[in-house]
Amino acid sequence: MTEVGRPADMARTFAQKALAQASGHESVAVGEIVDARPDIALSHDNTAPIAEIWRQFGQDRVVIPERMAVTLDHAVPAPTVRHAQNHTEVRAFVAEQGIGHFFEVGRGICHQVLSEEAVVLPGDLILGSDSHTPHFGWLGAFGAGVGRSEMAVLWATGELWLRVPESIRIRLEGALGEWVTTKDVALTLIGDLGADGALYRSVEFEGPAIAGLSLDSRAALVNMMAEMGAKNAYMAPDEDVFRYLAGRLLTRPGRRKGRGAEPGETSGEVAGRLRERALYPDAGAEYAAEHILDLSSVQPQVARPHQVDDTAGVSELESVRVDQAFIGTCTNGRLEDLGAVHRVMAGRRLARGTRMVIVPASSEVWNEALSRGWVADLAASGAVFGTPGCGPCMGNHLGVLAPGEVCISSANRNFQGRMGDRGAEIYLASPAVVAASAIAGRIVHPREVVE
């Protein structure tokens, strides 16, 4: 049925399709404000303060417990008594309200865990009280960050207003060169378009290069679009994504109807249903801007303190001494990232005066790195490991910086004071560049260490 005043024959972007579906409309126009009902509502350590806001509404029960996903990840294990109390309050709330998805200290970072657990599916709308919620675009979902008050209202009502954003299309062609990663692609885009280059917009990736990107690489690129100001980001999901999720759903029974594997279903059948859920932009949809990027033209990049769009080729930097190297976060703490670090560092020692902190993005990443022997090799190189979670990314614990110190990091933000003292400096780069810099004691291209 076509609704009055809503032309159904127009070509639509991914954002239009996802928000139309989530708000129960046949189609929605760019700029329209819709009341959207998310499939998943994400929160983390901030669940307790959100619950405090929610209790002001006088409700006994949240209205969407089965849609809520809570992960303890931002300061884990608790570094102070106050943090420990916060965790206690989160656990009590989760038990009291029968929250559908809860992940304890050490399971990992919410964005990585909800991906591994196949909690978020293609075509979903996920709203999160976390600014990296656009991450879930790597699965073909619409993810956007909201504030704590908004999350409390969402728990109480099941819906929130959203403006249908303009979209930017980025077509990816070619293939990545040696020592080049999607982190470098992200930093290249942000350097070119600016830290507000996608402000309020949906960044929609498509093109022939996507098929050649690993799933970990896709997640890193989509995740970083938060640093370009994007409301959400999206990458057209393919069979690799459907197979990844199907395999996980088969070993996780008990999901609510339509969101899991039915008894007796094969992997192919589950993947087929995920394919049917997936949303793709129409040919001829209208974009606010269109860009084409040839991945073979990208070189290893570094973002200099204190802005993510102040980028330079790693080879262009003057000698920059490094006190701490950090590997981890929802951007670059996955298995492929630890593999790149291992490739650079195994059999070599950290430079004198340089220390290294590695925090895997999840327990699954940690366990796999252990079983492959990477953890032992990297420990022999001098690296230390933290509990899977966000680590020192936002300056809570596990490797904060002193005044005047320099950190090279695989994270996503190099804001002043982000990882500790405001007099510290953070450079952002790919895991391979971070690892090479830890060995050299200054920021270098990986080939300077390996070749």
Binding site: E52, I53, R148
Partner: protein, 172 residues
């Protein structure tokens, strides 16, 4: 802590000018995000890593004037709450990070896009902000801005998103 100013009526305050891409980490540092939430706890840390003396100097009704992308970065709502309860009535900028923008209006802190005002407003001088008139005044010059929607104005008049939701839920 000064406490919030009533932004539904015209208010006056001094101008504090800052630059582009001021992020929520320097507005409210991440090291406090899971231990400090209440207005009383967060207000003394307003702009701590950008302008450490700001929280002592700010007075009710003061206005922050900034460039592009004010409030980019983390979703932390304390970035809006700390400014509001330190006394800031409005942030006037060329553009805003989108989550900060929502958080600000939801907490009754005016987030006003007005490039002409950003070009002209003088540091330290008094300015007046008039929500109903959609205008900022300084030294006899008026800077108009796009009016907020009736829905946003009624939310601000109600005292913010939470107060509005309380009324809506109580009414069934």
């Amino acid at each position: 802590m000064n406490g919030p100013v009533d932004v539904a009526r015209p208010f006056r305050g001094r101008v504090f000018r800052y630059g582009d891409h001021v992020n929520t980490d320097v507005i409210f540092p991440g090291r406090y995000t899971y231990t400090k939430s209440s207005p009383e706890e967060v207000a003394p840390h307003a702009l701590e890593d950008l302008d450490p003396t700001f929280a002592e100097r700010v007075r009710p009704g003061d206005v922050i004037v900034a460039g592009w992308n004010w409030g980019c970065g983390s979703s932390r709502e304390q970035a809006a709450v700390c400014l509001r309860y330190a006394g800031v009535g409005a942030v006037v900028a060329r553009s805003f990070g989108r989550i900060f923008y929502r958080n600000a209006l939801n907490n009754g802190l005016l987030a006003i896009v007005c490039p002409e005002a950003v070009d002209a407003l003088e540091e330290g001088a008094e300015a007046e902000v008039d929500l109903d008139g959609s205008v900022i005044r300084q030294g006899g010059t008026n800077f108009g801005f796009a009016p907020f929607s009736p829905a946003v104005r009624s939310m601000i008049a109600a005292g913010g998103l939470i107060e509005q939701a309380k009324r809506r839920l109580a009414a069934g």
